[in-house]
Every structure is written in structure tokens, then in C-alpha cells.
């Protein structure tokens, strides 16, 4: 775990405030280690390696930002930095994407 020592309730000014969601073309399958994510568009298989990450990813679309999701999922703020890293890599692999807030 690479969490910073200070108890912060913001993961980063940019990502933490961003509204996110599970990509609509991605299916999650629960597994003992977390979940498998499959993207029907780019056909990529991605491993979500912790059940808490799975919980957060599923909830992203129900909250205004990543920070709010982490708070709602009761994730210890000491772990937020590592969650931000995990979510960033899921954005790169298109499992998670930015949510456009229109209407």
C-alpha cells in the first residue's frame, strides 16, 4: 500500500472531483480475488484485484465524484491514493470512463 501518511479526503484535485462510471460496454464477473472485467468493445479482459475495488467501481455512477464514491463506500482515506492509482489504470484500459453530466 502506498497511501500517504496524511489523512486526506481528496485523492487528487483532478481525478478525485471527476464524475466517473463503469464503461457501459464492460461486464463484471465476481471472482474470489475480486472480479474479471470484460470490455465487449475492445475485447480486453482486465483483473480487478480486490473486492473493495469492485465495490467502488460498481458505485462510481451513483455518486458525483470519485471522492464521494470512496466516502460512500467507507474506504479508509489512507487507501485513497492507491484507489486513485487503480482507478486511473482502469480508465486507461477503458473499464471506467468519465461520465458526462448532461440533462
Amino acid at each position: 500500500m502506498t497511501g500517504c501518511a496524511a489523512s486526506t479526503d481528496r485523492v487528487s484535485s483532478s481525478l478525485g472531483d471527476t464524475p466517473l462510471e463503469l464503461h457501459p460496454q464492460v461486464a463484471l464477473r465476481p471472482e474470489p480475488f475480486g472480479a474479471l472485467a470484460y470490455h465487449y468493445g475492445n475485447r480486453r479482459l482486465v483483473f480487478l484485484k480486490h473486492p473493495d475495488v469492485v465495490r467502488v467501481v460498481r458505485q462510481l455512477g451513483n455518486h458525483p465524484s470519485l471522492d464521494d464514491t470512496l466516502r460512500a463506500c467507507d474506504i479508509n482515506p489512507k487507501r485513497w491514493t492507491s484507489f486513485a492509482t487503480a482507478i486511473q489504470s482502469l480508465i486507461t484500459s477503458e473499464v471506467v470512463r468519465e461520465r458526462s453530466i448532461t440533462g
Binding site: 465476481p30 475480486g34 474479471l36 465487449y40 475485447r43 479482459l45 480486490h50
Partner: protein, 377 residues
């Protein structure tokens, strides 16, 4: 969780397969000398359309994301498109392997209109002579015509699938160029001594020097080339691992459903010893995957056996179970293509005709062996 512990988790098995191969029929218009399922003629016990759909319903409930359909030549089945559409409608993507014989312009347009579909055209030589010596006369033109049709129909990036042999290993760059030419993706896999491959493996499998060639080529191009994780035994050649999970997934993350519904640990072990059950039995595929004795056993920690004292075991994992089995080697010893040559001694001691034979043979009555093929000019 580190990548290593993830692999350990995978070895313990998943709730459903990641990579499920389903051979729809043993019927085939070709008679490739290395066919892993000894295909040729249809088996009268093959699953009916209704039975196949019931299996797809199960796979949907298990959340299997996609399946690899093969054969035989799967397009021979009259209900091929019906099953394809049923699967995709149930959210199960399909990748199917074909020799391309039945992809005419009209079929190519039909395939191009479908979502969540990947097509893999088999080609084992960059020229007619190299390919047709293994896959049969006319098969090169057949594959190229299918690729042309898919391109003209705007299918998008299909895959070109190559089994690497002693005779095409020098053509890897050209295969890559061909794939680039079509906007396709190259996939290369390892030749196994399975099915009719048991009879031709000794003549066709890459030499030790060629194995290094494959390893180096994959290190240079691996990110853009698919391998189905099939060359993990080559990791003993250097410090750098090939892309992929680098483990044997048989019965853990991978399995095979054959045309008559038998479930095997992987596509390369069609033999009684690796048959876990049948989808027609009570509980169907799900029961076999979750509770069969064979799969339970494969998910337990495996012994390194004779490889335990070798420093490369962590890298190569002792290689491929199917390759050992069908060459008559013990399963807890080195792969017949062990890059350190640790299997050479035992392999030389395996008497002719003593290695286990593939369980079923659906070859057409007239067998055409590699040596009897006409020399093409």
C-alpha cells in the same frame, strides 16, 4: 495483489472459464496433418441445435464473456449462424476459427454486420507450398479468398492464426506483414502432438534453435501479436517473460467442449484421462466445471516432479501437459520441447507406438500423411 499471487489464484480455478473452446463439429472439408481433434467426419452423437442452445444458456448464467468456436470446420454446421446469433444475443461474444472455405462475399457481409464477433482464419504458410503441405491442396487460396472477402465486406480487424512449425518459423515477419496488409491481427500458436498432430509432431515441431528464434521474435513483437499464452515454456530462455499469464490454464481457466458434449481440460487433450464429464449429464456444463473430480484435482497444487531441481521451473512451469502426455512423457517432468534439453533423454527412450493415442479419430477413411503429399512446384 501482485501479479504472482493473481496467477496463484487462477491456478486454484475460477468460478467460470475465461477461455472456453467449443468445437461444434468433427466434420471438416480439410484434413490438416496436425489437426488437434483428428477431424474429418461428423459424429452422429453431435449436440443438436436445442442442446447447443441449452449450453449457451448455461454459459450466459455463468457469465462467460466469450467463447472460441472451432471444429472441425464450424461453418459446416447448418445451424452455424443460428447458434452464432443466439450466443451473441445472450451477451456471449464469439471468436470462431475457420479455414475460410465458406466465407464467400455474401457470408462475409453477413458476418460483418454482427457485433461481438471475431474471426480467425487459419494459415500455416505464407506461400501456397508451405501452407498446403500441412493443410491440404487448395487451402492457401481458400484462406486468402476469405480474407479478401472479409476485407471487401468491411469486417474490420479479423485474425490470421498460424501454428508455428519447423517450415514456417522463418516466415513470421512475412505473416506479420500479411496481417498488416489486411489490417488484421496476427495470432501464432504452438504445435501440439495432439490429434493427428501426434503422427506429425516429430517432423514438424520447431528445432531447439528455432524455439529461441520464436522467443526473440515474440519479445520484439509480442505486444501486437496474440499467442493464447501458448509459448510460456519458452520463458526459460531468458530473464524477460513473454506477455501473458504464463501458466497452464487447463481445467482452471480454460476448457474444451467437444462436438458430442464431452468436456476436456483443454483443447489439446482429447483423451479419456482428461475428460471431466459431459454437458448432457445431470447438472450440465456447470456441474462439470465446478465439481468434476478431474478439474478439482487440476486446481490443486501440482508437483514439479523431475523439474523441481531446475532453476527455470518458475519461468517455464514445466511446460505443456498435452505435449508431455502425447509424446509419452511423465506429466511431472519436462516438456518435450524443454529449451534446456532436459526431456531429450526420456524422449529418446519412449518406444515407438507406446505414447497414448488420441481418444477419438474422425479422420476421413483415406489418410494422407505428410510424407505422401505430392511435391508442389
Amino acid at each position: 495483489m501482485s501479479a504472482a499471487s493473481l496467477v496463484e489464484q487462477m491456478k486454484g480455478g475460477l468460478d467460470a472459464p475465461i477461455c472456453l473452446t467449443w468445437e461444434l463439429t468433427y466434420a471438416c472439408n480439410l484434413q490438416c496433418v496436425h489437426c488437434l481433434s483428428s477431424s474429418g467426419q461428423r459424429d452422429e452423437r453431435e449436440l443438436t441445435t436445442a442442446e447447443a442452445k441449452a449450453v449457451l444458456d448455461e454459459l450466459h448464467d455463468l457469465q462467460v464473456f466469450y467463447i472460441n468456436i472451432g471444429g472441425g470446420e464450424p461453418m459446416v454446421r447448418r445451424d452455424f449462424f443460428e447458434l452464432l446469433e443466439y450466443s451473441i444475443d445472450r451477451g456471449i461474444g464469439v471468436k470462431f476459427s475457420t479455414n475460410g472455405a465458406f466465407i464467400d462475399a455474401e457470408k462475409a457481409r453477413r458476418l460483418a454486420a454482427m457485433d461481438y464477433l471475431d474471426i480467425q482464419i487459419s494459415l500455416d504458410g505464407i506461400d501456397r507450398a508451405t501452407n498446403d503441405a500441412v493443410r491440404g491442396e487448395g487451402s492457401y487460396d481458400m484462406a486468402i479468398r476469405a480474407m479478401d472477402n472479409l476485407r471487401d465486406a468491411g469486417f474490420g480487424p479479423f485474425k490470421i492464426s498460424v501454428v508455428v512449425t519447423r517450415h514456417n518459423v522463418d516466415q513470421l515477419d512475412e505473416f506479420k506483414a500479411l496481417a498488416d496488409h489486411y489490417g488484421a491481427q496476427l495470432r501464432i500458436t504452438r504445435l501440439r502432438p495432439s490429434g493427428r498432430g501426434a503422427d506429425t509432431w516429430h517432423e514438424l515441431h520447431p528445432t531447439n534453435a528455432q524455439q529461441r528464434q520464436i522467443y526473440n521474435w515474440l519479445l520484439a513483437h509480442g505486444d501486437n501479436v496474440l499467442t493464447g499464452d501458448s509459448f510460456f515454456h519458452l520463458n526459460a530462455l531468458g530473464d524477460e517473460s513473454l506477455p501473458g499469464l504464463n501458466m497452464c490454464g487447463a481445467g482452471r481457466v480454460v476448457c474444451l467442449i467437444d462436438p458430442i458434449g464431452d468436456v476436456y481440460a483443454c483443447p489439446f487433450v482429447i483423451h479419456e484421462e482428461f475428460r471431466a464429464g459431459n454437458v448432457r449429464n445431470a447438472g450440465g456444463f456447470t456441474e462439470v466445471w465446478k465439481r468434476s473430480d478431474l478439474f478439482t484435482e487440476l486446481r490443486e497444487p501440482q508437483s514439479a516432479g523431475a523439474c523441481a531441481s531446475c532453476g527455470s521451473f518458475d519461468a517455464c512451469q514445466g511446460g505443456c501437459m498435452a505435449a508431455k502426455f502425447f509424446t509419452g512423457l511423465p506429466l511431472d517432468g519436462p516438456d518435450p520441447e524443454c529449451v534446456s534439453g532436459h526431456a531429450d533423454h526420456d524422449l529418446a527412450l519412449v518406444g515407438a507406438g507406446t505414447a497414448p493415442r488420441p481418444a477419438m479419430d474422425h479422420s476421413k477413411p483415406v489418410r494422407v500423411s505428410l510424407s505422401k503429399r505430392p511435391v508442389l512446384t
